[in-house]
């Protein structure tokens, strides 16, 4: 009898601190946000007037919102196409470097010591059409001066470009350690069978780190779809709204226009979109296994 009561409350107590923190800092704001999204929220007299689904119909019929959604997904595509596979390639090639391997691993980590905002500001300066570094260097290759953040067509690309070179430190280490943990017997066997080094990389290394890649992709997806900091510092939502992503629209609607209800509704929309994508992602990878 005593044993049953012991077992029941012990695990609860052990888990209580972390569960409490999680509820307080993750779930409570989420549920508040759901509640707020049904009101025309007044910050002086919360919660304000109950308006049901009016917030939802409003933003869903607003072209500003859909442009922000399109911007978000364009960014997602750009980040995916330009930055996701880079640490994988870097790790694969790094595993083939014998001399000074540790040195190169260290050098890859070096950009992460720079504060992210400082890095973005340096890039912003480099993008200056009048006296920036990039145009100065490109002119030696005969490439015309680009307007970078002043050109509506290449602003998004300009924001993604810094991430191509920096910010890959942690992912690189994850992939590299995954590659190193592949049992050498398989690799030796492949070598004996006559597979060339390139072929080995394609058929042996890459498939074996698939699990890590999937995990990274989930984190990457939600990170990019909700990205705010670097876009904000670089362009504050961009010329003519071309780099306003949904998270930025949410913040602007809330703090510049003081419309907290509708921004809560938009956040909830993003929440469902990302949840849906994650579920789809899990289903696809589960099927493959």
């Amino acid at each position: 009898m005593t044993r049953i009561t012991n077992i029941r409350w012990m695990p609860v107590l052990f888990l209580l601190p972390s569960v409490l923190c999680y509820l307080l800092f993750k779930y409570y704001p989420l549920l508040s946000m759901v509640r707020v999204s049904f009101f025309r929220y007044s910050i002086v007299n919360p919660p304000g007037k109950f308006i049901g689904l009016a917030n939802y119909t409003e933003f869903l019929s607003s072209s500003t919102f859909w442009q922000a959604v399109s911007n978000t997904f364009v960014f997602f595509a750009l980040y995916l196409g330009l930055t996701f596979w880079i640490p994988i390639v870097q790790a694969l090639l790094l595993s083939d470097i014998r001399k000074a391997n540790a040195f190169f691993r260290f050098m890859y980590q070096l950009p992460t010591i720079m504060p992210a905002v400082a890095g973005v500001l340096v890039w912003k300066w480099m993008y200056n059409p009048d006296y920036g570094l990039l145009n100065y260097w490109l002119q030696f290759f005969g490439l015309g001066p680009y307007m970078w953040l002043n050109d509506l067509n290449i602003t998004k690309l300009a924001i993604v470009l810094p991430a191509v070179f920096a910010g890959n430190g942690i992912s690189l280490l994850l992939y590299y350690s995954a590659i190193k943990s592949i049992p050498t017997e398989i690799l030796e066997a492949a070598k004996v069978d006559g597979a060339s080094p390139w072929r080995r990389m394609w058929t042996m290394l890459l498939p074996n780190i698939r699990f890590i890649i999937v995990i990274q992709f989930i984190a990457f997806m939600s990170g990019v779809l909700l990205a705010y900091d670097n876009i904000y510092v670089m362009t504050q939502g961009g010329p003519a709204g071309s780099t306003t992503v949904v998270s930025m629209l949410v913040v602007n609607t809330a703090f510049q226009q003081s419309r907290f209800g509708i921004s809560g509704a938009m956040s909830l929309f993003m929440f469902f979109v990302i949840a849906l994508l994650t579920v789809l992602q899990n289903k696809i990878s589960a099927e493959k296994d």
Partner: protein, 499 residues
């Protein structure tokens, strides 16, 4: 034995829960940095003597200590930091029962910081709110109604009546005037001289200005004629050009509703001029969306020959090393309408409607203290003593700034004063409409092939749907309630209805 272990295990768990919540809670309390600075001992004797002769309402009647939060702490590298700290100490000495906690606010993002504080229930007791935000804050109930406090205040006649305009809605007053400025064109005299241009002739009208700016743009030297504002505050300076073309971006109708005039001829002409400055005269910086700070930097480093500025920016530019004798200030070049009104702006101290009456009274005392004749004169004296260019406009009728301008270039002073003669408030509902009008301005500046009428029409339709229709509905509703209650009260007085 088992029981003992269970008890210690339980206490350990409780300890860890306590630690967790303490650490989680502790990190969240950094909102209001208490920064009541210690007074500097090397006080300029005049300033503390002057500051103590204040006209604030008798707060000595309050015996209870009261604490208020004011967002006016100077930044660490502010030129007047020592002066402000002395002033804070002088106020404390005069009103020992009012404890003021000074908090520093950010630059360029102060609105967001303020809204966050309001949303979190931590609105400061006093916040310096610029003119354009007054309308929306009053409508939301963020600025407290201080009509009674104001009417009971003996010193109220010392303030310029026009300085209360932007804070008065339906006869009620919502803020204490703090400062005013006018905008005009700031230009670099040396650069004009180097290009062989006479400022008076070049700054006459749109055409002459465009040609002059083009002449001063030299890619090899890295200089250009006019620093245009294209970042997300672009409408702030763009509205002046619409006025110069004879119109405005919005019109307030007699019944209180708003009408958008984004597609009026005046607006289209103004946007065409903006486009011409960039693409036809090629007289602006290439990075049209750079921040206001960068525009100012281009000006004081001698890259930009001219830029629009407020009359109270001159001191800041001089502090960065620009030679005061090299700065000129004039009204903007006139547009097709033959006029170039200056925009008058400024700020008010707004109180927190949710504070207790004692706190509101204390905050009102502080606000009127730092806008009193004695204090403002001590500020002007400090600026004069330290060679800082003062704000040439004052919100008070009993302060004459010209007493404090010895040693300043006379033409700058007269330039500001003449600009102050024809003034215009910013366009109606600016705070709500800003993002909508900024977009077509940026499109015009970034893409030479923009169809101006089309982008302005799109912006107008969007703003109409998302902002104006709702605003007009609200206004009509309030009016109906007003009419209804008037009708009801008439019925009551005629005896047709009983309570």
């Amino acid at each position: 034995m088992k029981k003992k272990i269970r008890m210690s295990a339980a206490s350990v768990l409780l300890l860890s829960i306590a630690l967790t919540t303490a650490a989680c809670g502790g990190n969240n309390g950094n909102g209001n940095a208490s920064g009541n600075a210690s007074p500097s001992t090397n006080a300029a004797p005049e300033s503390s003597a002057a500051a103590s002769a204040s006209e604030s309402p008798g707060a000595s009647a309050q015996a209870e200590p009261v604490e208020i939060v004011v967002w006016d702490k100077p930044s660490a590298d502010a030129a007047d930091k020592a002066f402000k700290e002395e002033a804070f100490a002088a106020f404390e000495a005069k009103y020992p029962n009012i404890k003021v906690i000074h908090v520093e606010q950010t630059k360029e993002k102060e609105r967001e910081q303020f809204m966050t504080a309001v949303a979190g229930g931590e609105q400061p007791d006093l916040y310096k709110n610029p003119y354009p935000d007054m309308e929306s804050y009053i409508a939301q109930g963020i600025a407290a109604d201080i009509t009674d406090l104001w009417n009971g205040f003996e010193g109220k006649d010392g303030y310029l009546p026009s300085s209360l305009n932007a804070a008065t809605v339906d006869g009620k007053i919502y803020g204490v005037p703090n400062d005013m400025y006018v905008t005009g064109l700031l230009y670099n005299k040396q650069m004009f001289a180097d290009a062989g241009l006479d400022p008076a002739a070049s700054l006459k009208d749109w055409d002459s200005f465009g040609a002059a700016a083009q002449k001063m743009t030299d890619a090899s030297k890295g200089t250009y004629g006019y620093a245009i504002l294209g970042m997300d505050w672009a409408d702030w300076f763009f509205e002046y050009y619409v006025w110069q073309a004879g119109g405005d971006l919005t019109e307030k109708q007699p019944d209180g509703t708003a009408k958008l005039t984004f597609t009026s001829d005046a607006t289209i002409q103004a946007l065409q001029y903006y486009k011409d400055l960039k693409f036809k005269y090629k007289a602006t910086q290439k990075n049209v969306v750079q921040s206001l700070d960068d525009n100012q930097k281009d000006f004081y480093t001698g890259r930009a020959a001219s830029m629009i500025a407020g009359s109270d920016w001159i001191g800041g530019l001089v502090a960065k090393g620009m030679d005061l004798n090299n700065i000129g200030f004039s009204a903007l070049p006139v547009g097709p309408s033959g006029k170039a009104p200056s925009q008058v702006g400024g700020s008010y101290w707004i109180l927190n409607p949710k504070s207790s009456p004692e706190k509101q009274q204390a905050a009102f005392t502080y606000a009127t203290y730092i806008t009193s004749k004695a204090y403002l004169e001590s500020v002007l004296q400090y600026n004069k003593d330290n060679g800082m260019f003062p704000n040439l406009l004052s919100v008070r009728t009993d302060v004459d700034v010209t007493d404090f301008v010895d040693g300043l270039p006379a033409e700058v002073v007269s330039g500001v004063q003449s600009a102050a003669k024809d003034t215009h408030l910013e366009y109606f509902l600016k705070a709500r409409l800003s993002p909508y009008i900024v977009k077509p301005i940026q499109q015009a500046l970034l893409n030479e092939n923009t169809d101006l009428k089309a982008v302005l029409q799109t912006a107008q339709d969007l703003a109409q749907k998302e902002v104006i229709d709702k605003y007009n509905e609200e206004v009509k509703k309030i009016k109906e309630i007003g009419i209804l209650s008037k009708r009801e009260s008439r019925c009551y007085s005629r005896g047709e209805r009983t309570l």
